[in-house]
Symmetry: C2
Subunit: 331 residues, 2 copies
DNA sequence: ATGAAAGCGCTAACAT
DNA sequence: ATGTTAGCGCTTTCAT
C-alpha cells in the first residue's frame, strides 16, 4: 500500500485533518505547522490519492473535453492545438485535469459522456466544436451538466465562446476595400457551419457599406479546409483577372491559394485570411493580411466560463455568450 | 445526493454487494438476479460513482496521454488524429478513459504527471511522441509507472510501438528503383528525430542494394513538416532536371511538393511518401505512390501493450518493441 | 448464489 | 489553531 495521510499525520505529530488542511492550504493552520507537515510530506514522498479526495469532497477537479470525430479535418487546423494550449494554460492554473471523451461514433461518445458525467468523474464539459443539433450537447443539457461550447452553436441556451465572426468578416473585407480593392471574392466553406456563414455575412455587409454590389459568382463555398483544396480551387475555379481582393475563411486554404498565386506570378491581388496564431514564416509575393483570432484566449476563456458556471453563487439560470477580440494585421 | 448502490440494493431487495457484483458482471450471480438488478438500475437511472469505484478497487481505469507541447507542428499532421483514433478505439473496448497531460512547459508537465501517477488517477502513460532524452519519460521510469511510447525513443528500456522506419524507407526507395528511377532524392527533416534518420538509412541501403551511388547533394533535411515548406523546397532548392524519383518522409511536405510540380507541369518524376491514412482525394499529374503507415493500428497496439504491462502475471522485467506493418501502394 | 461488514484514503462538520 | 469522528460510495473478503 502507498503512503497515506495518516502516515504523514503520525510522523508529523498532528491529526490527519490537519494534514488535509495543509494540503488545501487552509489559512487556519499556522505557518509553523504547515512547514512541518510539508517537510514530512516531502520527506515521505507523499501524494494525496486523487480518487479519495474526489470521493470525500465530491469534487473531481476534472473537466471533460469533447472532441469532434477523429476523422475530422479539424485536427489539421492550427486552431486545434492553439485552443488546446489556451485550455491547458487555464486548467493548469486551477490545478484541474482534462479527461478526453472517448468514442468512435456518436453513440459510443454519448455512452462515455453519460458515464463520466453521471459517475462524477468530470464536473463540466468543454465542447471543442459546434455542430448543428448536436446530440451530445443536447445530452449535456438534459442531464444538467455544466458545459461550454467553443464556437457558435445553434442553441442559445448554452455557454459559448467564439470570435465575432460576422464582425471579423466585416473588418477583413473593409480592410481590403480601404486598400483600394473593388472586386473582392470570398472563399468560405460549408455554409452549414455557422462561422462560415457569419463571416460571409460580414463580408456582405462591408461590401454594402462601401456601395459595392454583392456578386454571388465571387463566392466560393464548395471547398474543404486543406491547403490542397485551396490550391485546386485557385487553379481550377477562380478567375484572377476578374478580382483584386480575396477574403479567405480558412488559413490553410489561404496557404494553398497563396502557393498557387506565387507560381503563377500573380501579384495584383490582395489576400486576407483568419489565423489562429501567427506563424510569420511564410514569405510570399502576395500581399497577405490576416486577422489574428487569438484562439488560445478562446480556450482559456472557455475554461473560466466553466468555472463561473460551477460557482454555486450563481443560482439563476443564465448563459454566457462571449466574443474574443480579434486583431487586424495588414502588410 | 445522487442515487447510490444502497438505493438500488434496497429497491431490488438484494444486498449492496450483490449490486456491485452485477455491475462487474460477476458470474456467480444468477441471471435472474442480474436481470432484476439491471432493471432497477435502469429504472432509477443509476450510475456508479467512478471515484468511489476507483478508491475501493484501486483501479482508476484511466490512462494518461502525454502530448508534445502545443506549439508543435506535430498536431497538424494527419498522424495525430489517426493514432488518436486507434487509441480511442482500443480504450473504448476496454472501457477505459483518457486523461490528458496538462502543462505548458516540461516542468509543469512533470508536476502534473507526478500528481496523477502518484495520486493514482492514472494506471499508465501513453507518450504520443518520442524525443531525445525526454525528462518526462525518464520520470515515468523513475516512479515505475507503466508507460508506452509511440515512436522510437532513444531508450530501449521502455515499451514502444512504431513503424519499422528503416524498412519502409528501404521499401519505398526500392519501389522507385523498380519503377526505373536511378537518380532518387530524399526529402527528410530534422535528423535528430529517429524516424527521419531511420527512413534515410533505409533509403541509403536500397540505393546500395541496387548499385546506385549515394549522393549527399540529393538529401534535403533542412525542412519542417508543412505543405508550404515542401512547396518552397521544391521551388527554391530542388533541381528536378537532375532527378527522376523522390522519397518524401512527410506526407504534408509531399503535398506541397506535388502542388509545385503540378504548376510547373513537371511530370517525369516519381514521388513516394508515407501516409498515416489514405485521403485519396488528391488528383495530381504526378505519379505518387505511398506507404500506408496504418497509424491507427499503432495507437491501438500501444493501448494493448499498456494493458499487458499492467498485467500482474508479468513478474519479469521486459520491454516490448513492436513494429506495425506498413503497406506499399503504387500507382 | 448471496449477505454482512470492514475498509479504500480522504474531507468536513463539529468540537475544543 | 488543531483534534475527533463520521461519512463519501464503492469493492471485497469472509460467511452462509
Amino acid at each position: 500500500m502507498a503512503i497515506t495521510i495518516r502516515d504523514v499525520a503520525k510522523r508529523a505529530g498532528v491529526a490527519p485533518s490537519t494534514v488535509s488542511r495543509v494540503i488545501a492550504d487552509n489559512p487556519s493552520i499556522s505557518e509553523k505547522t504547515k512547514n512541518k507537515v510539508r517537510a514530512v510530506m516531502k520527506e515521505m514522498n507523499y501524494f494525496p490519492n486523487i480518487y479519495a479526495q474526489g470521493l470525500a469532497s465530491a469534487h473531481s477537479k476534472t473537466f471533460g473535453l469533447v472532441l469532434p470525430l477523429a476523422t475530422d479535418a479539424f485536427y489539421q487546423n492550427p486552431f486545434f492545438p492553439t485552443v488546446l494550449r489556451g485550455i491547458n494554460f487555464e486548467m493548469a492554473k486551477h490545478d484541474y485535469s482534462i479527461l478526453l471523451s472517448v468514442g468512435l461514433d456518436d453513440d459510443q461518445r454519448q455512452k462515455h459522456i453519460e458515464k463520466i458525467v453521471n459517475g462524477k468523474q468530470v464536473e463540466g464539459l468543454i465542447f471543442l466544436y459546434a455542430s448543428k443539433n448536436d446530440p451530445l450537447l443536447r445530452f449535456a443539457q438534459k442531464v444538467n451538466c455544466p458545459a461550454v461550447v467553443i464556437g457558435s452553436p445553434d442553441n442559445t441556451k448554452v455557454h459559448f465562446v467564439d470570435n465575432d465572426n460576422e464582425l471579423i468578416g466585416y473588418q477583413a473585407t473593409k480592410s481590403l476595400i480601404q486598400q483600394g480593392c473593388t472586386r473582392i471574392a470570398y472563399v468560405g466553406g460549408d455554409m452549414n457551419q455557422f462561422f462560415i456563414a457569419d463571416r460571409h455575412n460580414g463580408y456582405k455587409r462591408a461590401l454594402e457599406g462601401a456601395g459595392i454590389i454583392y456578386d454571388p459568382s465571387l463566392i466560393y463555398n464548395d471547398i474543404n479546409f486543406l491547403p490542397s483544396d485551396g490550391y485546386e480551387l485557385a487553379q481550377n475555379k477562380i478567375d484572377f483577372s476578374q478580382i483584386d481582393g480575396l477574403v479567405i475563411s480558412d488559413e490553410l486554404v489561404a496557404e494553398g491559394i497563396r502557393n498557387y498565386l506565387d507560381t503563377q506570378d500573380i501579384q495584383d491581388v490582395h489576400l486576407i485570411t483568419f489565423s489562429a496564431y501567427r506563424q510569420g514564416n511564410t514569405q510570399s509575393m502576395i500581399k497577405t493580411s490576416y486577422v489574428n483570432l487569438n484562439s488560445h484566449i478562446i480556450g482559456s476563456r472557455a475554461v473560466d466560463i466553466l468555472f463561473e458556471a460551477l460557482d454555486p453563487d450563481q443560482a439563476s439560470t443564465r448563459f454566457i455568450h462571449e466574443y474574443v477580440d480579434a486583431d487586424l494585421h495588414t502588410t
